[in-house]
């Protein structure tokens, strides 16, 4: 019997018609150009989004009210092959510096002018550490309390 349940990492793989250099450049320097404007933290609309180009740099949203709202920081900056970001937004999309989930993006040249992107967002079981997540999920009915226990045991394992 094993009651410990870990949510699987989110994985996406796809191919781009571009070099790894261009893919890395657009992902990072061009971040504001593709990040969905519908997805941001807080009440003030998003005007831009930034990934600072170095390990230890921040990634954050820029907002109409002039405030920069952090999402996390750059863990690995290794152009053009790899970028790892710390996603530190909890289950209620509040910034929590103690929370670490990892967004890992790899760019691999597969032929002339084509790049494979291997994307992974992992460590999702750590959302179980967040009290907000616990409360959000606790309010839900039925079997979710049970799921939550499993999350918590995974997180505390």
């Amino acid at each position: 019997m094993n009651a410990t349940i870990q949510p699987a990492a989110i994985r996406k793989t796809f191919t781009l018609r571009a070099s790894p250099e261009r893919a890395f450049q657009v992902f990072t320097a061009g971040f504001s150009g593709w990040w969905p404007r519908t997805h941001y933290v807080g009440d003030s609309p998003l005007t831009g989004a930034v990934i600072e180009p170095r390990a230890g740099g921040r990634w954050y949203g820029e907002h109409e009210d002039g405030v920069e709202r952090p999402w996390g920081d750059v863990l690995t900056w290794d152009p053009p092959g790899r970028l790892v970001l710390a996603w530190r937004l909890n289950a209620e999309f509040a910034y929590d510096p103690a929370l670490l989930t990892e967004v890992d993006v790899r760019f691999t040249a597969i032929s002339d002018g084509e790049t494979r992107v291997d994307f992974e967002h992992r460590g999702l079981e750590r959302f179980g550490d967040s009290e907000a997540a616990v409360q959000t999920l606790s309010r839900m009915e039925g079997g979710w309390g049970l799921i939550l226990d499993s999350f918590a045991s995974a997180a505390n394992a």
Binding site: A3, I5, P7, R17, S19, F127, L137, G143
Partner: protein, 107 residues
């Protein structure tokens, strides 16, 4: 909404019982039906609903099927993030390929 489906799936007490038994460990239909006040076909029907809600998965094990809680079906957060990254990465791909008039550099 997948999560609404999941909640609806768990609203039935017997179905919730089936789900909670699976939380203790993977199990086949026959094992699940033991000790439940419903028939084996009824248990199969409950499993079908739970599977459609993304709460359980099944796999063949010899002549029988073993059911278990789907770790990919767990929680709002994962489902939300999965949809979110689909949207974001589609936008990223479109942006990369939109301005591909530049000669790609040799790797």
């Amino acid at each position: 909404m997948a999560n609404n489906l999941a909640f609806a799936a768990l609203a039935d007490p017997t179905r919730r019982e089936v789900f909670e038994r699976l939380a203790a460990g993977p199990s086949a239909v026959g094992e699940l039906a033991q000790g439940l006040p419903v028939s084996r076909p009824a248990v199969s029907q409950h499993l079908k609903v739970l599977k459609e809600a993304g709460l359980v998965t099944d796999r063949p094990d010899g002549a029988r099927r073993v059911y278990q809680i789907d770790p990919q079906g767990l929680g709002q957060i994962r489902a939300w993030l999965d949809r979110f990254w689909d949207t974001a990465l589609d936008a990223f791909k479109a942006e990369v390929e939109r301005n591909d008039d530049e000669e790609p550099k040799a790797p």
